[in-house]
Each structure stands twice: as structure tokens, then as C-alpha cells.
Amino acid sequence: MRALHFVWPALCCALGCSSDKIAGLQYQCGSAPDATVAPDAAPGVCGANDPNLPLEPTLPTDVCQTVVADKSSPDENDLDSNRIQAALAACSGRAVKLVSDGANNAFVAAHLTVDSSTLWIDRGVTLYASRNADLYQKTGSCGVLGVNDSGACNDFITVRGTSPAIVGDGVIDGQGGEPLVGHDYSWWQMSGALQEIDGSIGNPTLINLSTGTTGFVLYRITLHNSPKFHVKITSSPADGSCDAPGQGFIVWGVTVLTPSNWLNSQGLPMSPHFARNTDGIDPGTSDIATCGVIACSTISTGDDQIAIKGGHWVSDLVIAHNHFGTGHGMSIGSETYGTYQDMNGVLHRGVENVSVYDLTVDGDTRPVGDGASPADSNGIRVKSDSSRGGLVNNITFSDVCMRDVANAIMITPAYNPLFAGTSYPQFKNLTFQNIHDVTCMSPVQPVVTLEGFNASLPAGPITLDNVVVDNIGPQAVAAAFADIRLGPGNVNFMPNGLGVTVTNGITDASAPRACQFPTLPVPPVPPGWLR
């Protein structure tokens, strides 16, 4: 019976049968992707009529300097750092455009700084991060295998100042899976060496924003293979207020695909699981991030696609019309302990006022890789622990479709139960509306976890309104210390557990959200492979 339970969804998918034979569900596995949400939709289409969003950014009309590629591959003996940095330094408030000369289309550089200027990478051009760890050295441990020093390296690109931007249809490639200069291991192998102790390697961040940055824009760029996190956002409105979404920062039309190849240049297999600690977009990691928009982007990587980090303070974010492939989830945390006193003396805490809507999370875009576990495949996560916990308040997830994720919804105050401390997580006012998780190929039953820290610090209210997780069973719902409110839309599972109160306000037999999943970017298939 157990085996059949696991096999049925896959069989159903393979036979093209309707999944409503399982439990009255709508989604049809193998149905055609929705072209209207294609991630390569032309500019101006996605988000155009969304009143919650600002106008889509545009590419610069004024180019201060153009830098022309003089190589077709990332030659470590001929770095472009100096000429790119010189152009950026001479063009504050204006754009520097990296272009191809027709035959050459590659740049390679070590640490760069974008200070109040725009770095524009043209279509067909790739800016590679140097593989020379010595050029990122910060504490002495950058490039050293086996040391848990998360601050070891400088960033590849540091962004700061007023209205800085990185735009264009080109690519920034961090070369995380390629061997470092002078070594037989890569950035990702360094990270993997700490996996056994759940440590954090200090590899370079692909793009990191400095404290005090205002009005950052990341537009249409494609990011590949960051050594660690792809983008750490620290940016807020210049005057500190948030009159309209996006005044603090805008990420729009961005593609993150990591790893971008099935094999590295040495023939070593690459996978999302191998690309450890490669978060996609992380607001709040380095300092406060407020009044931001992340829209119309596709993210497929080896860690959280988005992780909102409340180690300082994050507030007023709109995350809309995004499509996720592989990754650890649309996450908040694990740092939520932050406090920030604004210029009016008001004290802010943790993560507040976030709206996530129109999101797809598709676990079927590609294999996660050898050694992967259910922890590698999540939908929505709010995670923290008592070493780094604090307030998470007023968060809404709505109109979310997930396919074949192991953890559909995970609210956990014990992200790593080993870690001790007295920074206790407080999860308040979490709303899930029109959420549908479907099962097609996964052999793993999806899990829902709704947990507060303890009886003194329960989670909630957690409102579940039209939340349907296909193929879920009573043993796949974990709940503790939570105030859970169901309805008015249907919820197809019933949480219970120690310290759990459930208020059942389901009043209608609402249909699950209709789900369609766009075809997302994946690495090109090597010759002779079956995919």
C-alpha cells in the first residue's frame, strides 16, 4: 500500500492521466506550459498591469563609456578588472556598457565596485569572475579548504551609492564549479568540504550591496554559478520612507541559473546539490533592505531561490510574478533577530510586511543531483532558530503553485536544532491564500510544517485560506505551538499537535488554484545525454 501510494503519482503523470483521480484535484500532469508566463516574455509584458508594482525599469539611453571585449574565453592571465573599474569610476551617475566586438564576447575580472553608476552587460556578452582566490583575499582564509570563515573573501561586485544598477541581457558568471587558480578544487568543493559540519564557507558573493545604498536596480541580467550567494541586497529609499513599492530597490526580469552546465570544464558533474550555498536573491543579508520589489524573475539554483534575511531589518517587500526551478525555497530567515532604529527613533525588528504572490515553484525542471535530500526541495519556508531568531510579522503568500517539492510549506523555529541561544523566533500574522502544491514525478509525499517556538512564543495567527496540498496524508502534517485559522477557502489537511489551536472557518468548497508551470531555463544537454 505504501509503495503504491508513492508510485501512483508518477504513474499517473507518465500515463497522462488526470490527477483528479487521486483526490478530486484539478492539475493535469504533463499539461502544456503556460506561454503567458514564459520567463523569456518580452519586456513590458510581465507585471505591466499590476497596481502593486512600479513601472518596469528600462535600459539606459545614455552610455558614458563602452568597453569592448578582447577575448572569447576567461583568460586568467589577461584580466579586464582595471579597464572596467576605470570606466565605472569615470561614470558616476551614468552607464558603462560591456559589448562584443563581433568575435570576442568575454570579460574576466576580480573584485569590482559599482558606485552610483550603471554596469550594462550587453546581450551575448559574459562577465566572468576570476578564479584566483588571492584576488578576493579578505581575512586570509579565502580559497583555503576546510575553514569555516564566512567572511573570508571580498565580493566579486560590490555595489554602493545612489541609484546604482546592473542591467542588460548579458551574463555574469561566477565560475563557482571551476577549479581555482593554483588549486585542484573549486569554490563549490570548498563549500562541500564544510557540509558535514553544516558550516558556511566564505566564498565571494557575486553581487553584494554595501550599507547605505539607495535605489538599487537589477534588471534583465542573467546570473550563473556564483561561488556563494548570488545577490545580497542592502538598499532602501533615499529619504527612508516607503511611499511606493520599489523605491528602495527593484529586481526585475532577472534570470538565475546555477549550475549553468551539467559538467564543468574538467568533466566533473555539476548539480544544484553540488552548488551548495548559492542563494539567488537575498534582501537584508548585509544590512537593512526596505521598500523593494522582486518581480518577473526566474531562479533555479542550489540553495534558497529567495531568502529574506532579518539579521538587520527588512520591511515592505513585494515579490511578484516569479518562477522558481530547483532550490531550497521562497524563504524568510534563518536570521530574523535584527533591530533597527530609524531616523524618527522608531525601533523596527526582523522581517515585516512582505507580500509574495503569483509564484510558481517547480521541482521538476532538472534533477537536484547525487546526495540530495528532501531538504533540497522546498516551496515556502519561514525558518529560524534560537541562535538567530526574532520577529517575523505580517507576511502574506498568495497565488502560489508548487510542483513536486518535498516541503510544501515549512514554518520552523528550529531550522538547526543544534544551535543554542536566547534569540527566540517569533512568527506572527502569516497568511497563506490560494496555495496549491501538485504532485507528478516526486516519490516523496509533500510535508507541511507549522511550528512556533514554544507555548510562550507560539506562531500565529497562521491563516490558511484555500490551501491544497495534493497527495498529503495526516502523517505529513507537523504542527506545534501555533494558532492556526482555516478558511474561508478550503484546506485539505487538518493540523494538530502540542500547543496547537485550530479555528475552522472554512465556509466554501473553493476550487484549488489552477496551476500551470512555465518552461524554465535549464543547462544545455551535453551530446549523447538522454534528457
Binding site: 564566512s150 528550529a414 543544534l418 543554542a420 514554544n454
Partner: protein
């Protein structure tokens, strides 16, 4: 607060089977070493302080006990298919009548009192399964960094705020790739003493330098290495003769060297045959973390 990483579930079961720790505390439990009885909550305040504005008295799902002798309300856990089942308690110290007070979970939890855990007194050990720490079941409890033992996690806990013994500081004069700690005599830095903004790992002890002796304390420079390779025999040894403060004493029992087991560790001088801090024959090195 230290914690044994070699606790044996089998040993716990044998202890229980032989009657040690017998005595379930439902309303009263007794054993040869004392007795526990349910105590009025007002005496212990286990469920919090009543609302002064007349609101409902909070209910944290806890039960108060008073115990005589060395009896504890949580001393009779069981293991079902390897899963601990027991109550979790915060010790509340001596009550007015001389008995010991405890606030305990009303329901069974996936944690078991671990009588063979090596915890600094007055802390005591629990062994738990799953993602919830003992503090999840008793709000007043504070526990240190957990250590995996197979599927289970060992903790040392106390019902009173922890006195850490060490404080992380940036003013210990350590290089950028290490973390500084100031410790009172007899204490070594532990992972639970890291600040919230520090990168943590699933290790209990950090790798630390020979301490610098201060007037009333000692300072350490530490970092967290990856696990040594399988077969690695080198271990930290702060008593290597002649190894100055700020350097790392390491004892190796086999032919491997500190640099092979701990990347970034450079030992300019060849090893010297001697005995480690516990008296075992070893090759002793004095090294620098670069």
C-alpha cells in the same frame, strides 16, 4: 557546560531496566532516593504570572513538582523503537520546605533525561529526537549547543540562565580569520557562545589557540575547521610544552601532520616526540593558523 558525545542509549535503557531512575511522576512518584509530588502551580509559577489586569492565567502546559532527595520528575523516560519518550523539566531550585522544585511538561515529549550525559553541574542532559529542542517543551529551560548522536541530539540544560564562562569579543587581538573569546579560568570557548551574527556549524568545541593569560581571565583565538579526514589522528592540545600563547598546540598519534588534518595550519618546526595532555605518546607540534 560540557557534554559527552559518547552517551549510550543502550546504557540508559539498562539503567532503567535495572530500576535506576524508576518512578513515574504522574501525581506522585517515589524511589529509593526520594519522592516527587505534584505541587500547586502558585508555588512555582510554572505557567507564568497571572495577568494583573484580571485576564486569564496563562497556561504553558506545565506541571509543578516538588521532590525530595535526588528524585526528579523526569527520571523515568523510555525509548520506543529508538525514539525517546519522557517529560522535560526546568529545575527551579530549593523551595521553602527544602524540597527541590521543577516545572515539567505535562505531556510526553521526544526527549529523555540522559543520566550519563557529562554536563557541568548544575546542568543536566536530555537526549531528543526531531527538530524541537528541550526549550520547546518548557519555556524556562535553557540548553546549550546540541550534538548529534546518530538520529538523536544530546543537550545540556538548566532551568536557570546559563553562566557561559566565555564571551566572544573583537578585542582579543585575534587575526581577521579567527574569533576572539575572553574566558574565566577553567572555561574554553563553545559554539553556543558565538554571537547571533557569527557563522555557526554543527560542532561543539571550536579549535582554539593556547590562551593568553590575563589578570583574571584568559583570551583565546578560535576558528571552526572542517572535520579532519577519516583516519586523521591529530587533536588539539593546549599543553604542548613551549607553545606560546596565540599559537596552536597539536598532538598527533599517527604519521599524519596537523596541516593535513587542519587546512591552514602551518607548523614551522618538526614535531617532537612526547606525551599529550592526557599522557599518551604522541608527536607534539606547535603551529600557527594562517
Amino acid at each position: 557546560m560540557s557534554l559527552s558525545s559518547t552517551t549510550s542509549r543502550l546504557f540508559v535503557s539498562l539503567l532503567l531496566a535495572s530500576g535506576i531512575g524508576a518512578g513515574a511522576c504522574s501525581t506522585q512518584s517515589s524511589s529509593s532516593h526520594g519522592v516527587c509530588v505534584v505541587s500547586a502551580d502558585s508555588a512555582l509559577g510554572c505557567n507564568g504570572v497571572p495577568d494583573p489586569d484580571g485576564g486569564a492565567t496563562p497556561n504553558l502546559g506545565l506541571v509543578g513538582y516538588s521532590c525530595t532527595g535526588s528524585a526528579r520528575p523526569d527520571e523515568a523516560p523510555t525509548y520506543a523503537d529508538g525514539v525517546p519518550q519522557g517529560v522535560v523539566c526546568a529545575d527551579r531550585g530549593a523551595l521553602a520546605d527544602g524540597t527541590q522544585g521543577y516545572c515539567c511538561s505535562e505531556a510526553l515529549t521526544p526527549c529523555a533525561l540522559n543520566p550519563v550525559a557529562i554536563c557541568d553541574a548544575p546542568n543536566y542532559g536530555y537526549q531528543c529526537r526531531g527538530s524541537q529542542r528541550p526549550e520547546a517543551f518548557v519555556s524556562d529551560l535553557e540548553c546549550g549547543q546540541g550534538i548529534y548522536e546518530g538520529d538523536l541530539i544530546d543537550y545540556c540544560c538548566s532551568g536557570f540562565p546559563q553562566t557561559d564562562g566565555c564571551t566572544q569579543t573583537d578585542s582579543a587581538g585575534c587575526s581577521d580569520n579567527m574569533m576572539g573569546f575572553i574566558c574565566t579560568a577553567g572555561n574554553m570557548p563553545k559554539a553556543e557562545q558565538l554571537g547571533a551574527n557569527q557563522s555557526r556549524a554543527d560542532v561543539y568545541r571550536l579549535l582554539c589557540s593556547v590562551p593568553t593569560i590575563l589578570p583574571s581571565a584568559q583570551s583565546y583565538c578560535c576558528y571552526t575547521p572542517a572535520l579532519p579526514p577519516v583516519g586523521g589522528t591529530c587533536v588539539p592540545d593546549s599543553l604542548v610544552p613551549g607553545c606560546a600563547a596565540g599559537r596552536f598546540g597539536i598532538a598527533c598519534y599517527g604519521p599524519d601532520t596537523p596541516g593535513q588534518d587542519y587546512p591552514g595550519m602551518a607548523c614551522p618546526d618538526p614535531g617532537v616526540a612526547g606525551r599529550d595532555a592526557e599522557g599518551y605518546l604522541a608527536t607534539l607540534y606547535c603551529c600557527d593558523f594562517q
